[in-house]
Subunit: 258 residues, 2 copies
DNA sequence: TTCGATTTGTTCGTATGTATT
DNA sequence: TAATACATACGAACAAATCGA
């Protein structure tokens, strides 16, 4: 292993220097920075704890504390006897983390997507505010219809900045063969780490009703959702409409388990 | 300090004996059990880490790991230089943890409650299933109207088992002067630790529309929510209707912070 | 199949720092 | 100031899982 290469630049942490916080926090920051710079790809092993300890000239326990927090944040995954890995944002993970629509029995299922429209546009006032852009900034506007159990349940209108996703193409987007967030990651190096959702109820207009196979005026969920990357930059705005005839938005509050 | 009293019964953990898991997990279980048995009241300090270490005959590090998990689960709170305390389920905590309705600016506010009705009843099929009761089991049915900024926004229909809350009285309930979950805690020793919510959209009927000051047929959120105690027993079922004319159900997915 | 090397997981003990009383 | 209590950091030893020779 080319461990020597990693230390050509001296990354030793100087305990004499003044640090803004504890040592392990600094180690965590450095590992995070390497993660964002793509030093290790998704799913790959990062250096061992003792390698990090040598690299930063700290004890293994300090490295463990730093890595432990990143594991708690689900950025890394530890496997005893094998190593520590960059958490792979796979389908199941995405479904688990960023998708809250379940059927009436509580089952969650991966939705099928049908692209309805894909075009360029400019940010209006609302979009600009939500995505922290200037009004009129170039964006892509994408409409998707999502199916669960061969039934159209969700209608999505997405807006993403062209600056964040340069040269996004309809054809490539259409046959991405993975989740949209996964595509952001592999094609643009954009990792979504956080999503905020505002859920409201609205009456379906006739166009939406037709798309979802319900009656006009029927109540549907209106979810406005903003996705952020690791450093807090908003990268996607999504207006989502959900028929809750046989599905629901499911959420757990408080402790995850006993 | 009567530390000697705490060791009259030998709680030493035998490292030679076979444990189902790591030592710190056993320590965590014992602390949790003491917590549930009310050995230390809400807000009170629990023994220091070194006292626990002596009590269970383990190292301080092992105690720290056990307590650390309980802190992560927000059961305990650590204060440097002072001690570790039983998390007090106060108003702010409850608002933070179990209330997801915000106004359109994203502000969260403590709701005012108006009791609409309070009566005894029996569990129907749905209630029995959700609360894991026998059909016909005695329950209390309570209706509440909740106000935000002097505006009626939420209509609640609650169902709780009489077996869990024996001799619950309308008058006492009405002038509880605290959150409902807080009342469960102080009056019945029932700590809610987890809530599951199913959010759907429905059209308001005329009675609900009148209560919330909206038009009949207008879309509102329909939240079905079950509250569980530490050991997973369901203790409350709540059917909630929310007007989203100027409010929303807000939720964050993924990482909490960078 | 066995064995050894590697890596994380657990536990211990100690020392020092920082906040509170 | 002194004592107390949690926070951080270090180092060491062994356990358990994994993988490849």
């Amino acid at each position: 292993m080319p461990d020597n290469l990693a230390v050509t630049a001296d990354e030793t942490l100087d305990p004499g220097g003044v640090l803004p916080g504890p040592l392990y926090a600094e180690v965590k920051k450095r590992i995070t920075r390497s993660l964002m710079e793509g030093e290790w790809p998704q799913g790959a092993a990062i250096p061992t704890e003792s390698q990090f300890a040598r690299r930063y000239a700290v004890s293994v326990g300090t490295v463990r504390k730093a890595i432990g927090e990143l594991v708690a944040e689900r950025v890394l995954v530890r496997r005893r006897g094998r190593g520590t890995f960059v958490a792979s944002r796979n389908r199941d993970y995405m479904l688990d983390t960023y998708f809250r629509i379940v059927d009436d029995a509580g089952r969650k299922e991966f939705p099928e997507t049908r692209l309805i429209s894909f075009r360029r546009g400019k940010a209006d006032a609302v979009v600009a505010q939500r995505l922290q852009l200037m009004r009129g900034a170039p964006v892509y506007r994408i409409e998707n219809l999502l199916f669960l159990q061969d039934q159209s349940v969700i209608f999505d209108r997405m807006v993403v900045p062209q600056a964040v996703f340069p040269d996004l193409r309809e054809a490539a987007f259409r046959r991405r063969g993975m989740t949209i967030f996964g595509y952001y990651q592999t094609r643009f190096g954009i990792t979504v780490t956080r999503v905020e959702e505002w859920v409201r109820a609205v009456n379906a207009d006739s166009k939406l009703a037709a798309a979802l196979g319900i009656a006009a005026g029927e109540a549907v969920l209106a979810i406005e959702r903003v996705a952020y990357t690791y450093d807090g930059t908003p990268v996607e705005l999504r207006h989502r409409r959900v028929s809750t005839r046989s599905h629901a938005y499911f959420s757990v509050l408080g402790m995850k388990q006993a």
